[in-house]
């Protein structure tokens, strides 16, 4: 048995050296339109239940994402559910047509490729999904499952193929004897190995892994992660590794990108990102993870509220509606303490998280150490009056318009390069706190 790439695949002409850019994603955007277009009817909760005509909604799933992946490295992408990780992965592999932006593979723009050239690139880019069960045809035996992509791409001779399957099964840590077993005869971790073998069958350079170990038990997770690292070394693979689990990302990645609501908010070397995070969202994420050590103190649920809808995301920085560090609008003179109180009050009014009977109680709750004066004080006064008159909506709108929407965080989209403390590679952070003024 031999694991040498067969002569029948000739990709010698365009080999990229280790450490050189293999994949380049530029300003990638993917929007989905939902609903039935202009004629779709919708019931508006605030409009008394009358159906009205609406434009079809545009889900801005991925917006303006750019990064490079170097040959031989693992770029981890982390973010919470719905932040666009899987859409990003699928768009890179052209399983979705991008709305805007470009993907370069080995220097070629995928959008320019057709026919045989595109087929070849497709073979070089493979994908592994989260659910090892559903991605394997239950009626097929494992051998033919792994062999199938070789047939589809018409590479290797028929006899070579079955040898190669046995070889690959062994490489991913399965028993080659299991050639004739069905997927249901394997455990979850083993099925994910079958997926790995299948992805490797066509000798790819680049594998996009979308939550490949999320469905597995921790002990099995560790086995599969180790195997993936070994295969990477052995076959010179490049991974785009998507996960929601920061511990897994920290373990597997060389560089890490953090996504929030369709955008990349931070990107840096692994240790730089974990030790010197510059985006408040990254910091919140890191502070939220429970650490498997009872003597480590300090996890706190730091973020309030829920992720806003990607149909109508906040202007400027998309994280601003939840950001614990939202920057004070420079239209007013406010001390830090005053702004902290105003911000907290504004959010509490927005979310209506308190009840109050009189002004003194409200001041004690929100403004016991500092109350803004001047114009900021006037606005706050009016909002308090509204709340006391049970006009919450009015108060919320007033505070939003006069404070939140005047912040630079709402006015401009942030994008900054940060001086890294660990290593020398690029550290990108989409947060105005990094503006050096």
């Amino acid at each position: 048995m031999s694991s040498e790439p067969a002569r029948s695949i000739s990709d010698d002409d365009d080999d990229i050296a280790f450490g050189e850019t293999l994949v380049s994603v530029e300003n990638l955007t993917k929007h989905f339109t939902t609903g039935g277009g202009l004629l779709s009817l919708r019931y508006d909760a605030t409009g008394g239940g009358f159906p009205f005509r609406t434009h079809s909604d545009r889900v801005r799933a991925v917006e303006n994402v750019s990064f490079d992946i170097k040959k031989g490295e693992t770029l981890g992408i982390v973010g919470e559910s719905g932040c666009g990780k899987s859409t990003l992965a699928r768009t890179i592999l052209k399983l979705h047509a991008p709305t805007d932006g470009d993907i370069y593979f080995k220097g070629e723009n995928l959008a320019d490729l057709t026919g045989e050239a595109l087929r070849k690139r497709r073979r070089e880019m493979q994908m592994i999904f989260q659910d090892p069960q559903s991605s394997l045809d239950p009626r097929m035996k494992v051998g033919p499952i792994v062999e199938e992509p070789m047939k589809a791409h018409d590479i290797y001779d028929p006899d070579e193929r079955s040898d190669r399957v046995r070889d690959l099964l062994e490489k991913v840590g399965l028993d080659p004897q299991h050639y004739n077993r069905y997927p249901h005869e394997f455990s979850g971790g083993q099925r994910q190995r079958v997926n790995l073998a299948r992805a490797l069958a066509v000798n790819p350079d680049f594998i996009v892994c979308d939550e490949p170990v999320s469905a597995l038990d921790v002990s099995i997770q560790a086995q599969v992660l180790n195997t993936m690292k070994r295969l990477q070394r052995e076959f010179g693979l490049t991974y785009l590794f998507i996960a929601h689990d920061l511990s897994v990302i920290r373990h597997i990645s060389d560089r890490v990108g953090v996504m929030y609501l369709g955008q990349l908010v931070e990107l840096a070397d692994r240790d730089e990102l974990f030790e010197n995070p510059q985006h408040p969202y990254t910091r919140s994420l890191l502070e939220s993870i429970p650490v498997p050590d009872p003597r480590v103190e300090g996890r706190r649920g730091v973020l309030e509220g829920d992720v806003p809808s990607p149909i109508n995301p906040p202007s400027g920085c998309r994280f601003r509606t939840r950001c614990p560090d939202l920057i004070a609008p420079d239209t007013y003179e406010m001390s830090d303490a005053e702004w902290v109180n105003v911000r907290r009050f504004m959010r509490a009014v927005d979310r209506r998280t308190f009840t109050v009977t009189d002004r003194a109680e409200l001041l004690a709750e929100f403004f016991d150490d500092a109350y803004p004066d001047g114009e900021a004080g006037d606005v706050t006064d009016r909002a308090i009056d509204n709340v006391l008159a049970d006009e919450w909506e009015t108060a919320a709108t007033l505070l939003q318009e006069r404070f939140a929407e005047q912040s630079i965080c709402a006015l401009r989209e942030p994008s900054y390069e940060v001086e890294p403390e660990h290593g020398t590679n690029q550290h990108f952070a989409a947060c105005h706190l990094n503006a050096d003024d």
Partner: protein, 380 residues
């Protein structure tokens, strides 16, 4: 029973009678829950955590059945089935009837929260109505008072704008908000024990973190005891006071949380702790537990972990160790089910010959896994 003990479980056995055979999902577990503590029940998928949790409330349906053991809750016997001296199995006379369980225990005295909130919420009724009705029935309140209490509880668990949100339907809530509603419902009757079966597993970490904070606050305020079922050692470290580690239907180790992490006394717990990646440290190589958990339908002889245990010896294939206190004099109670503790188990482990397992030899038993096959699988 110790006055501080809320719940006591002794030798509980729950089995499923399937076509393929008898699944010994929970196979003789014993533990107790003290007032105001959070007891973690941790283990991998299929270890029997959910079956154990449901058994406490007698929520096991066909083809499953609790086949033995005793569950006492305060003065009440929730379950009692014991073998007499004559070998006959008898039901305890004091055991509550199904009607008693429904009326007096579930929801009122012991509440349960499941992983998927939609399992417990009715999609066609509003959140507020469901909570109000629950309070009305269980706390014998009038409709109006129950509504006010429902809004109060929604605010208590951090639902924004509860007056308006009262009229929302479950599908209009995010997963985290639905889980908050279930916590509100669980707390509504001020039960002395809440069983939470992976309530945060499906949630994002920032939301999970909010919920864990909420639980910690409410637990202090209401002095409720919890059984917290999870597979996440991070969550265990974060909120639990004591921990039971389950493997293949048995509790193999039981200790205070700090002792469990810093002085584990069972090879499975040790291996589990070594295999997890950490968010706060860069670990380049993980040390996975070799092999896979065998089926509960046909568990290995002797110690059930022996097929994967790096310390396994011949005696481990013969003797099934029952958890025993292995703490030194003056230490807190620390139970482990492992023959390595010769003083307590007296099975002459030291004199026994080491055996080859998937962990010791590099050869897998049954289906291969990493390290299970010679050749490519050389993961350090």
């Amino acid at each position: 029973m110790h006055p501080d003990t809320v719940l006591n479980v002794e030798n509980l056995k729950t089995q499923f009678f399937t076509e393929e055979g008898v699944v010994r999902a929970v196979d003789g577990i014993s533990f107790s829950v003290k007032r105001g503590e959070i007891l973690g029940l941790v283990g991998e998928s299929g270890a029997g955590k959910s079956v154990a949790a449901k058994s406490i409330l007698r929520l096991i349906d066909n083809p499953g059945e609790i086949v033995g053991g005793r569950i006492t809750f305060g003065e009440k016997t929730l379950f009692g089935l014991e073998e007499g001296d004559d070998g006959e199995v008898r039901q305890d006379e004091a055991m509550l009837s199904n009607a008693d369980m429904r009326r007096d225990i579930r929801g009122r005295e012991i509440a349960i929260i499941f992983q998927d909130p939609m399992e417990s919420l009715n999609p066609v009724f509003t959140i507020g109505e469901q909570l109000r009705e629950f309070i009305e029935i269980n706390r014998e309140m009038g409709k109006k008072a129950a509504r006010e209490e429902a809004i109060h509880m929604l605010r208590e668990v951090g639902i924004p704008d509860p007056e308006t949100r009262y009229d929302s339907y479950p599908h209009q809530f995010s997963g985290g908000m639905r889980q908050r509603v279930l916590i509100a419902m669980a707390l509504a009757c001020e039960p002395s024990l809440i069983i939470a079966d992976e309530p945060t597993t499906a949630l994002d970490v920032t939301v999970e973190s909010q919920i864990l904070d909420l639980v910690a606050d409410l637990q202090q305020k209401y002095d409720t005891s919890f059984i917290w079922v999870t597979h996440d050692m991070g969550v265990v470290a974060e909120i639990c006071d004591r921990v039971c580690v389950m493997y293949l239907g048995q509790i193999i180790e039981q200790a205070d949380v700090d002792d469990l992490f810093y002085d584990p006394k069972h090879p499975y717990t040790e291996a589990l702790l070594r295999s997890i990646p950490r968010p706060d440290e860069t670990v380049d190589e993980l040390d996975p537990i070799k092999g896979v958990m065998p089926e509960a339908i046909n568990p290995p002889s002797g110690c059930r972990f022996h097929t994967r245990c790096p310390e396994a010896r011949e005696v481990c294939m013969e003797v099934d160790p029952e958890a025993k206190d292995v703490s030194e004099a003056g230490e807190r109670l620390h139970r482990a089910a492992c023959l390595i503790h010769d003083d307590e188990f007296g099975a002459d482990y030291r004199a026994s010959t080491p055996i080859e397992t998937s962990a010791t030899s590099g050869f897998g038993t049954g289906l291969a896994s990493d390290g299970g096959v010679s050749g490519g699988a050389d993961d350090e």
